[in-house]
Subunit: 297 residues, 2 copies
Amino acid sequence: MTSSTLFGGIEAGGTKFVCIVASGPEQVIEQVRIPTTTPEETLGKTIEFFQPFVAARQIDSIGIACFGPVDLDSDSSTYGFITATPKPHWSNTDVRGAIQSALNVRTAITTDVNGAALGEFQWGANRGCDPSLYLTIGTGIGGGYLVDGKPLMGLLALEMGHIRIPHDFARDPFPGNCPFHGDCFEGLANGPAIQKRFGSRGESIHDDDPFWDVEAGYIAAALTNYILTLSPKKIVLGGGVMAREYLFPKVRRKVQELLNGYVVHPSILTDIDGYIVSPALGNRSGSLGAIALAQMT
Amino acid sequence: MTSSTLFGGIEAGGTKFVCIVASGPEQVIEQVRIPTTTPEETLGKTIEFFQPFVAARQIDSIGIACFGPVDLDSDSSTYGFITATPKPHWSNTDVRGAIQSALNVRTAITTDVNGAALGEFQWGANRGCDPSLYLTIGTGIGGGYLVDGKPLMGLLALEMGHIRIPHDFARDPFPGNCPFHGDCFEGLANGPAIQKRFGSRGESIHDDDPFWDVEAGYIAAALTNYILTLSPKKIVLGGGVMAREYLFPKVRRKVQELLNGYVVHPSILTDIDGYIVSPALGNRSGSLGAIALAQMT
């Protein structure tokens, strides 16, 4: 535990790094957005941003919610590295080590989606719900599952976006676009898969297009599997695809249909509007989650 | 923690109760099998069996691995009850309360599959592997997932046997036999579903029947989903269907095919024979798991 009340947080994304100094959502002292170019430039500017706060002893720990794949095994020789990423220049980058050695502060690193889960757990939509699940459905699909307030780690970090679900071939002949699995959940339902079907971004497709029923069906099938396998007390759905609020009631109704009364709990049977919800922190879940992570360090 | 070195364990099944007094697999002092008839008779005989050990102060805690559904919410007014079961006489039976009040010992209760998971974790095939998964594929399909050595509990106990997986309609037009979900994993792959397809028990079907490829495919799809969602460090497969050892290599190969190199870990890529394994305690996983549970109490 730190003695400081302020913390550093980095939401390290593939497009931009959001760096903040804060103690919570209402107390964000300073914030900067740094474009993700090369590791040298981006990490250099990140370090530069935090330097004065460290020098003034205002912060002594920094949390990092990082795009991946990230090595999260603290026993590994590449702990805290971005490993093999398609993003140019970033494969094999020691993100955590670079921050720690330049600033000489305590650091902790997790995945971007675990970061968002932590932010929402501390201050947002799944506050105090343990265990709970944060799922992002956007360019990629990924889940952060918290048990005892910490991201669950097993053999590796979770990769629940890639589960197999029934493919609705009759209404949706699209073969899926996952380079590893074709029509896994991510391959059927992520943003690029929607764009590939229509030749245009999902935002341009009307709410009344019958495709949204198919999309909601895939999301509901995956949520059904997560509910049966993880039994979270709350599910927060973020990401670009879920910015279409119209999808929420459709997904909730289909989850109830698929479970068909089997999971006998008010959260499913009657209170599902409060069970499957949007993020409360909007696009700040990740950066604030990095603050929550720093607090735990 | 108890001061005794001996513990009571009850594997409370729908056909029989196995009651043991033991400190581990090599030290089983006494054992009895009691047919599951009415709660009065079966619980009465169970209490009778343990009575002398309690009177002699040889045991002061009893673990119960119970058929379900069981209410495991310790805040609930029906904690430790079998709730709505199709088994005649047993709905709304306070199993834990009956044992505790008659014998005045500490008691703990969990599901039968969590019990088997605990037994194998303490003394068997997934010893020391945390988190780990025990899956039974028999009359029913259920999973016990241990995190920090304890069965994961969320909103309710896990019900991962009922996840949706792709249904291989081309090779398997069978509609599934789950009364809630039709062709969920359990509805496609449990023992009764096999029997319904062939009109005879699975044991009578030859190893070279092409159906086993279909069955192995369903099991592998489910395991793939559990690996991506739970990332266990070991998977133990028990239950009557998995008594056919011939299925193991088929399932392992199909899991590798379905993951297709995406989960980059030696346990999947090269050492899968030691990753997806049979129970080491045979049919004693559950009763010994009840002992492990008593030890934790």
